[in-house]
Each structure stands twice: as C-alpha cells, then as structure tokens.
C-alpha cells in the first residue's frame, strides 16, 4: 500500500492585518518529502516559509511494534521461539498516527509536536523553518515511537485541497468562523501561531510580556501583572541572574506571611501541626520572591520523594524541606549527601538503624541502597550523554548495577540512626539528631561499587565516599539532566538538548552552584522557549499559578467561619484537600516513585482528575475573599481591567494563557456578552482555568 501525504503550504508571509479575504486569493504551493519505509520519521523535513499556513493530510499503512499477529513460522507448542519471529500488525494509519513539528534551521524545535490529519491549519513560525514528521505511537494515552512506516511515506500535492482556508476548515470539521478567525488573527502574524502550536525562539517575534510570563511560569509559579511588568522592564536575563542567587533576594516579607513551623507538642509529645506543614509549602510557592529556588524545591521534593504517611513527624518533614531548599540550586553531590542523612529519608527508606556490620549472617536492609541508585542518582540503565541507553553488540541495553552492587551499597551506607528525645513541651524542631555508629557499619574496608574500588573509611564519611562513586558515574549527568528537563521543559526533550545540559552537569560536578548553572543553561537553550505549551501543569502548579496570575489570595490565617479551615476538602493542602484529591498531596507521595514518573505527567490526568481539576477551580472561585483563606479577589483585579467585553476577555486571557487562542477568546467573549459583573468575571476566569490551554504551561 502506498502512503500518501499532502502538505499544502498556503499563503506565505502573512502580514499584520492581512484579512482572510486576501488570504483566500493566494494560490497554494505544494512541497514533497519522503519518509523512508521501516523508519519512524524523517529529520530531513521540508522547508517552510515564515508565517506560512500548513495543512497536512495523509493515510497509508504503519506497523505496530507490539506483537499481535502470531509467529512468522510454525513453531513448537511454546509459541514463537524469539521476539523477532513475532508478527507485528500492519494497518491503516488513523488520524493522529503521524505527528509533525517545526524546527529552526539548526534543528532546534520551534513548536511542540502536533497531530497530522486533525484537519487544523498549522501556522509556521515567523522565521524560516523545516517541518519534520514522526510516525506517532500516541495511543492509549501515552506517547512513544511504537510504530514505524511500512512503506515510504510521500508528501505530495493534492488537487482536492482548496486554497481558501475557510473551505478547508469546513470540510475537515472545524467551525468556519473559528478557522477564519484563526487565519485573520493579527496575533498569528506576530509569530504566536496557536493554531499550529508553533512558537518562534526569536524573542523579537514574541511579545516580551509573553516571553517573561512563560519563563516565570516554567521556572516559577507564574506571577501577577505587576511582577511581569517589572520583569519586562528589566529583561528576563536579569531576572534569572537574580533568581539564581536566591540568598541575595530579600524574602523576609514572604517568610513572615507563612504560618509558623510546628513548635509545640501536646501532652503525649505529638506535634501540634495538623496539616500546617503542607500548607506552609504551598503558601511559600505563592508568596516567595525566590521563585526559581522554590520551583527546584518542588523538583527535589518529587525526585527524592518522601511520604509523611510513613515518617509521621511534621518537624522532620519541615527539616527535610529546608535541607532541600538550602541545596536546591547548589551542588548535587552535597544535596544527595544531605538527603541521605536526613531523618525523614532514613525513616522513609528504612536506612535508619541499618546494620551492615555482619552482612552474611545479618543482612542489611537494601531499600535505600536500591532506590538511591535506581531513582535518585543514576537509573537502572547505562546512558549516553544524550539520554539514550548504551547498547551491547546485540542491541541490548546495559545495566548500571547488579544485585551485588545493591548489597554492597547497603553495607556502605549503613550505621546511621536518628535520635529523638521526648520531653514534654520541647520544641519538636530541635529534639532530633542523627548519630553514626561504627559498630553498626563495620571497620574501614575496600569496597567495589559499580566497578569502582574505593576505600570506605568506616566513619560517618562512608556516605560521602560511596556517593562520590555514584555521582561520578557516567550515567548520572544524562539521567539527572533529563529528569530536570522533563520537569522544567517538556516530557520528551530532544537528545541534543539532553546532551547539552548533561555536558554542563558533568562539567560542574564539583561546583558549589552546579544546579544553578544547569538551570541557566536550560533557560538559555532555544528549545526552552520553543517548548511553549508542551508541559502539563502539575496540580501544585495548576492551583498556585492560577492564584498568582489572577488576583488570588492565599492567607496563612485559618478561617473557620466558612469552613475553609486548614486541611479538609475546601483547602489546598492536607489529607482530603484539593491537592490530595488531585493525586499530589505535598509530602504524601504514595510510593518512592513520587506522584508520577519523569516524562509521564500525563499519568496525573485521568477523566476523574480532569473533572476534579475543573471542580476545584469552581470551589476556589466561589470562596469569598473577605472571609476565606484561599480565594480570588476579583473585585480588586477588576479595577485594573478594561470595562468592555473584549477588554476584559483580553485582560484575563493575557494573564492566564498568554493571550489564548482566537477560538478561546471568542468563547470567553460569548460568555461575557451576558454580563460583565463580578459573577460573570468569575465565570470567565473559570472557563479559562478549565480550558485545555490553561492545563499546559
């Protein structure tokens, strides 16, 4: 079967103010590209003029990587003798079986991937670009290259596609008005091509305000209009430089606004804190001026996930958080050493009181040792710098460690124990310490870990010695770089991007500001701005960003008058709170895997969780700012808005979704046409906060 794709490049050089009528008179131009058979796409791509509208259709056959067709040869009763003998089904590619993305002439992505065959018009970036194609494995809610082209995929001209964009959109199911609006949008002419999801990496083409909002949302938790104004005035580079030295930022006011740490115990020595320690973290995300540091705190809290369900001590959790914050932009090895000696981690992964002195007769607990290697530092598989697995001659991925390494590391990390004194009335924040016992660790010894032989000093420095081997493992830089990129940029950063950031990671392995240097490199890469819209907002980002960007209030004073006490269903934090309902209760990761696996934020979404996210916005918007501790102060916000339907809509869309799509703007205006009073402004905010555009960052 022949795979035919049609790429129609319509109306190059769309200029500001060009009407759809003018566009319709342009003659379409066609381009051709071949995706080779047995490949998963093409990096050659086709050249696309700036601002072109690109319509791509296709059909043909692709092959699944999942064996579902029995064996190629008749074999014995045990089935296929090996994996290669299994048939992979070939079938007609459905819409969405191909994805495309715009890249600049150096190969950096300018847009997130979009589906081919959806019927939409993709708007090319404002700079010359190439269009790449991938055979898409996006089925069942997860993305991968699980399909390959069976035959050469050829992009060819098609006589059936008209030049008139509105007639195209009619035939393919997009409402004509929406399609026409999309074409006519002056915003697209500025290079903000929402219809195609493309975004130029040229800051000249994107309004500086949107570039600033994007950076503050990705590297922080968004910001109110006044803060954005200030960053636009000073420039994003200056803002980032300031953020990367958080100690130089005066954060006194923000810290003073947080509710106090737990400092009282009851008659049974239980800490009187309720869920305050969770709430305090969210309050800090909302209030702090050290936004980048706090975003990294979120990263490390999820990377080194610890659950209070097992630790069960608010003071230990607070101490853990403060240690992560102190090291958040510092040196990674120091961070791991500090984490390993934190009481919360000692309890969480059972290294507390672990005895490695007689491993043969009394085996040490391996829990921390295994997860330290698998999840915290280097991963199970040996990695190249670009994040791809290292393969042997037979194409099989090589393991980073074997069971012997797990056992050795368990011994090497043993001997630490948390000491807690229980004196009634004692400040719970000062009643614990961590002690090292040589008797439970064993004397100085030569150890071989991950193929490296080193001397374990038999003292509390045993941790530093073992962790030094781990952090210098060649897989550590790409492993950590990729996970950080997946948090801050996109679930599928390009191999080039991973390699570039891993190189910075490896080069700065001994630098006290290693992580700050890595974050700077991430933000300065063209793929950073090009990833607009590619990352889902996690629940904490979803809620805190909404409050910061749309006049929200997050007060530390519990208010019981209207039921919005700390904890409980109407609050953000706490068991049963909104974040818990959205599967991300702070400090309460269900397992060592945190709330989702790196690159799979999608698992935070299900039909249930989508509804929950929408419903929580309803709850917060219904709260009265005069009495509730979490609310939107829309009356104050409205004072700075224009008074017209179009003006209010534009103001809210600018603040929350960088202007939004023309179709979204039209919908919001349709709603506001019923009224522009406070109730309708709240309704308009809800519609934007529950739009797919707001779900991503």
């Amino acid at each position: 079967m022949r795979f035919t794709l049609n790429v129609v490049v319509v109306a190059a050089a769309l200029a500001l103010g060009t009407s759809s009528r003018a566009l319709a008179q342009e003659k379409p131009t066609y381009a051709t590209v071949v995706v080779a058979a047995q490949s998963t796409g093409t990096d050659a791509g086709i050249a696309i003029p700036p601002n072109a509208q690109v319509r791509i259709t296709g059909g043909g056959t692709i092959r699944s990587d999942v064996p579902l067709g029995g064996c190629d040869a008749t074999v014995g009763p045990r089935g296929c003798a090996n994996d290669a003998m299994q048939k992979r089904p070939e079938f007609t590619a459905p819409a969405g079986a191909l994805i495309a993305t715009f890249v600049d002439l150096r190969g950096a992505a300018l847009s997130p991937a979009f589906f081919v065959g959806e019927g939409g018009l993709a708007i090319a970036p404002a700079v010359p670009s190439r269009l790449l194609l991938r055979v898409n494995g996006y089925f069942g809610g997860s993305a991968s290259g699980a399909f390959v082209a069976t035959t050469a995929l050829t992009l060819a001209p098609s006589a059936t596609i008209a030049a008139n964009p509105s007639s195209i959109t009619q035939r393919t199911g997009i409402a004509t008005s929406a399609g026409t609006r999309a074409v006519a949008s002056a915003r697209n002419a500025l290079g903000r091509s929402f219809a195609g999801g493309a975004r130029t990496d040229s800051s000249a083409a994107v309004p500086p305000r949107y570039t600033a909002q994007f950076m503050l949302r990705r590297l922080g938790f968004g910001a109110p209009a006044a803060t954005i104004d200030d960053v636009v005035k000073r420039g994003t580079a200056a803002w980032l430089a300031e953020q990367l030295t958080p100690s130089a930022i005066d954060d006194t006011a923000a810290i003073a606004s947080l509710q106090p740490k737990p400092n009282l115990t009851d008659a049974n020595n239980q800490i009187i804190d309720s869920d305050g320690f969770e709430r305090r973290l969210i309050e800090r995300q909302f209030a702090t001026k050290r936004q980048v540091q706090e975003k990294l705190v979120l990263h490390w809290l999820e990377h080194f996930a610890v659950g209070n369900a097992k630790v069960n001590d608010a003071a230990l959790m607070s101490h853990y958080e403060e240690t992560l914050r102190a090291d958040a932009l510092g040196n990674f090895k120091q961070l791991v050493v500090d984490v390993a000696k934190e009481p919360a981690m000692l309890y969480w992964l059972d290294n507390d009181g672990n005895n490695g002195a007689n491993p043969k007769t009394n085996p040490p607990n391996e829990n921390f040792s295994r997860e330290l290697m698998q999840l915290y530092v280097l991963g199970t598989t040996q990695l190249n710098m670009d994040g791809s697995p290292v393969l042997n001659a037979n194409g099989v991925a090589l393991e980073n460690y074997v069971q012997t390494d797990v056992t050795t590391a368990a011994v090497a990390l043993s001997g630490f124990k948390t000491i807690i004194t229980y004196t009634p009335g004692q400040d719970p924040n000062t009643r614990f310490s961590v002690a090292f016992s040589a008797a439970r660790h064993g004397v100085a010894a030569q150890r071989t870990l991950l193929g490296v032989t080193y001397t374990d000093p038999g003292t509390d420095q045993c941790l530093n010695a073992a962790l030094d081997v781990l952090v210098r493992n060649p897989s550590t830089a790409p492993f950590e770089a990729k996970e950080l990129l997946q948090r801050l940029v996109a679930p599928n950063p390009s191999p080039r991007y991973i390699a570039a950031i891993a190189a910075v990671w490896a080069k700065t392995v001994d630098a006290p500001d290693q992580i700050a240097q890595v974050v700077r490199a991430i933000a300065n890469d063209p793929e950073f701005n090009g990833s607009y819209g590619a990352n889902l907002k996690e629940p904490e980002e979803l809620l805190v960003t909404a409050l910061r960007e749309a006049g929200g209030k997050l007060l530390s004073t519990p208010n019981t008058a209207n039921g919005t006490t700390l904890g409980g269903a109407a609050s953000l934090a706490g068991g049963g709170g909104m974040l818990a309902q959205e599967s991300q209760e702070p400090y309460n990761s269900p397992s060592v895997f945190s709330f989702y696996r790196p690159g799979q934020k999608e698992s935070l979404l299900s039909q249930q969780l989508m509804l929950t996210r929408f419903n929580h916005m309803t709850t917060l918007l219904a709260n009265n700012p005069a009495t509730a501790n979490t609310s939107f102060d829309t009356v104050t916000l409205a004072a700075s808005m224009p008074k017209t339907v179009a003006g209010i809509s534009q103001y809210l869309l600018d603040a929350l979704v960088d202007g939004g799509t023309p179709a979204l703007a039209a919908s919001v205006q349709t709603y506001l046409a019923n009224g522009t009073d406070d109730a309708h402004i709240r309704g308009a905010i809800w519609l934007i906060l529950s739009s797919p555009e707001y779900e991503v960052a």
Partner: protein, 432 residues
C-alpha cells in the same frame, strides 16, 4: 452506547478506521460477556507469610528468625506452628489430597475469610509464581508492576499497552467502555492500542462536573461555552490530550451517574470488619457490575506491602484487609446473582527474600503467591512451592510459574488469544 471513539483521540477520532487485525479480536470478544477484576497488592507481597510452606517449616522458621542482637521474639517473622494450628490448616477442598495438603501449606491466620472461600472450592492459589530472571530488573517495583501490567518482560520504557487493554481492544463496551480503573490512576494494564480505560475515583458520586453558575441561566450558559471550548481544536499535542480526556470525562458523567443512582449498594459494607480503601474500590466495582455497565475489566489496588522493616507491625493487618475485602466482594456478587461470569485475580510487584533482614523486615525477592477467585474458578492449589533451601544466585527462591502463564489463562477467559499479547503460548494452569 458509550462513544468509545472519544477515548481514542478525543476530537481527532472522527477519521479513525479500526485496524483490520482488531476486527478478528472484536468478533471473538463480542461473543462473551466475561468480566475480570484485577487486584494489585502493591509494594511486593511476602508470599511466604501469605501461604506458609508447612512442609518446609524448619527452613522457614530458621530463615525468618532475625539474628539481630538483642533478638526480639515479638518481631520474628515466622508464623508459629501453634498459631497456625489454632487458625486451622484445612487447606485443600479436594478430599483426595486434603490430608496431605494440610501438612504442607497454611493460610496466614489473618486470612480466615479467604480460607473459607477456598474451602468452598472457589479460590485458586498459585504458588511459586513470579517474573523470570530473564527480566534483569525484576526486583524493582516499577519493573514488577509494569511487567504484570503489560504482560511482557524487558519492555519498561518502550511498551505502551497492557494485557487487559489489548485483550479488550475492539470489544464493544456497553454503557461504559470495556476497561475501568477505580484507582483514580490510569494503569498500563488497561491500555490497549485503540482504547483507553475510563478512570474513576471511588465513590462513583465524585465523577461530576460543577461549573459554579450563579443562576440556572448562567449555569446553562457556562455549560454551553465550556462544551464549545473543550471541542475547539488547536495544535498543541499536550493540550489535545487534555482535551480528549476532558471530552471523554464529560461524555461519561451521565452514564456513570446513571448507574450510580440506580444502584447505591447500601447493603455492600459488611459490619463484620472495618472497611479499607480496597473495600471502597471493590464496592464501586460491584455497583458497576450490578448496574450492567458493560465494562469487562476492572482495576483496584491495595498498597503497603513493601515491608522492609518491622513487617509484623503491618503485614498481618494488610492480609486481613485483603482477605476480608475480596471475600466480601465475592459474597456480595453471589448474593446479587451476578457472580457467574466474574473472575477476580490478584498480583503483586514481586515476592520477598526468604531470609529476614536486620530490621525485622524482608527485602525484594522473587516468587510470590497469587489468587484467582470466582464461580468459574476450579479451586485448589496450583504451581509449585519452591525450595526454601536451594536458592538461586540472588538468594531467592526459583520461579516455578511464569507470571505470564496466569495472565494467559485470564486473557483466554476474556475471549482473546493470549499468545500475541504475552508473547508465547503457555499450557493452561487449569484453574479456569
């Protein structure tokens, strides 16, 4: 009829043509209405303390008594013979082998309820089951859960589908799509090539959308504009995913609430014990089965089995919850006359090490014990308890039954061909 296409690509699905290879599966699947309920014991359940190998009691007791100094007898992990005798060892419903079996194996004393289901002949115990050493990372939670979900080995990071999802690809569904997760999460187990599961959090009543309209008219206007926004298209692939989910969610609200309203299952909760979260999930599944949702695979989980430390503090209680919840669920389906086509199967990430560690717990190990329960199940003991003394190089028991063998038999029960899904044909274990 639920619009399953919305589950594929949301608004993008209009041009979808079902791959030809799926139609044969569909034809086969449509001929039956069997239902499978999958229950995961997350964390890696200690099979040795779940079904105790009495026949190897000496080796068991020796390896399960920690040598930590000072020894603390209350923390020893072996279940004492006196405790087992008090709980009763009658294990095998087959009179011909019952006497011998009673001397060989015993349920953990906390599992009285499941022991009674076993005695009634509706519970299969599969011993010595696990992930083969050909999976190099089989002692990782992530790998263990993924492999049990995908029905494959060595596919973590590349595999995107699960065995139940593939088995039900092309199945017609009913009021609801063919696969439903009650965990609030989307497990790999239920993902097919062309269908995604409906994901609900218990209880069903929480599956609603509130738009906050201030008047009846405003509520209606918000609903209209909301629907318009969710139906709009743009090119963000991530957004398209959110849009597809939102569409499938809002599309399913009426169906889920219809079943919820028709079937409150107020009589579900047994007063004999305190319900756990597993009970809550199974109660919702019971409501969906009684309410004829048309779903064919359900997914629920029970966590907390990663007992590295002080295992006795939690493990017996977990097994008690597990046993009560499963037995109560089965009894309820029976009472409602809807049990004849329902099979409940369990799995865990992996088993645990034979030898206890120095913190009175057990580390990640190889073989586990799983259960299959239901009217269609031929109760009894399947698989083979491995030797506790002849261990492999990782000091673990040797796997006797490949986990894919159990899945293979369940896939067959769902009406699909297991061989292409789990990679090869396995001889039937015989419980179905």
């Amino acid at each position: 009829m639920f619009d399953r296409r919305r589950f594929l690509c949301g608004a993008t699905a209009s041009a979808f043509v079902a791959p030809a290879f799926l139609t044969s599966i569909a034809a086969e699947a449509a001929s039956t209405d069997t239902i499978v309920v999958i229950v995961g014991q997350l964390g890696g359940n200690d099979g040795l303390n779940t079904v105790i190998p009495l026949g190897q009691y000496g080796a068991y007791a020796g390896l399960r008594t920690p040598t930590a100094a000072p020894p603390d007898p209350t923390l020893a992990l072996n279940i004492t013979e006196a405790t087992i005798a008090a709980a009763g060892t009658a294990f095998d419903p087959n009179p011909a082998t019952a006497a011998a079996a009673a001397t060989q194996y015993a349920f953990n004393p906390a599992m009285t309820a499941l022991r009674q289901v076993y005695a009634a002949g509706h519970l299969a115990v599969i011993a010595g089951i696990g992930t083969p050493p050909a999976e190099p990372n089989r002692f990782s939670h992530e790998v263990g859960q993924f492999d049990w979900g995908s029905g494959t080995i060595n596919k973590l990071g590349t595999g995107q589908t699960g065995w139940a999802g593939l088995a039900l690809d092309g199945a017609p569904g009913g009021i609801l799509p063919p696969a439903v997760s009650l965990t609030g999460q989307n497990p790999i187990t239920l993902r097919g090539l062309v269908q995604s599961p409906l994901v609900i959090s218990a209880p069903l009543e929480s599956f609603v959308l509130r738009n906050g309209g201030t008047t009846t008219a405003d509520t209606q206007t918000r609903a209209n504009v909301f629907g318009q926004i969710q139906g709009e298209r743009n090119g963000f692939s991530t957004t398209a995913f959110a849009r597809a989910l939102s569409s499938s969610a809002t599309g399913a609200i009426a169906q889920v609430q219809g079943i919820a309203a028709s079937n409150l299952a107020a009589d579900y909760i047994s007063t004999a014990y305190k319900p756990s979260f597993l009970d809550t999930q199974l109660q919702q599944i019971a409501r969906l089965i009684v309410g004829k949702s048309g779903a064919r695979a359900f997914y629920a989980v029970h966590g907390g089995y990663d007992t590295h430390r002080s295992q006795n503090a939690s493990h017996p209680a977990l097994l008690g919850q597990f046993s009560n919840a499963l037995a109560n669920f089965y009894a309820y389906l029976k009472a409602k006359n809807v049990s004849s086509n329902v099979v409940i199967m369990t799995f865990s990430d992996f088993g645990r090490r034979v030898q206890a560690n120095s913190t009175y717990g057990t580390d990640h190990g190889s073989t586990e014990v799983t259960f299959v329960m239901g009217d269609p199940v031929k109760g009894g003991f399947y698989g083979q308890y491995p030797s506790l003394t002849t261990l492999d190089a990782t000091k673990n028991m040797v796997v006797q039954v490949d986990f894919r063998n159990q899945l293979s038999d369940i896939i067959t029960y769902l009406g699909a061909d297991p061989k292409p899904i789990v990679g090869q044909a396995y001889p039937k274990l015989g419980f179905l």
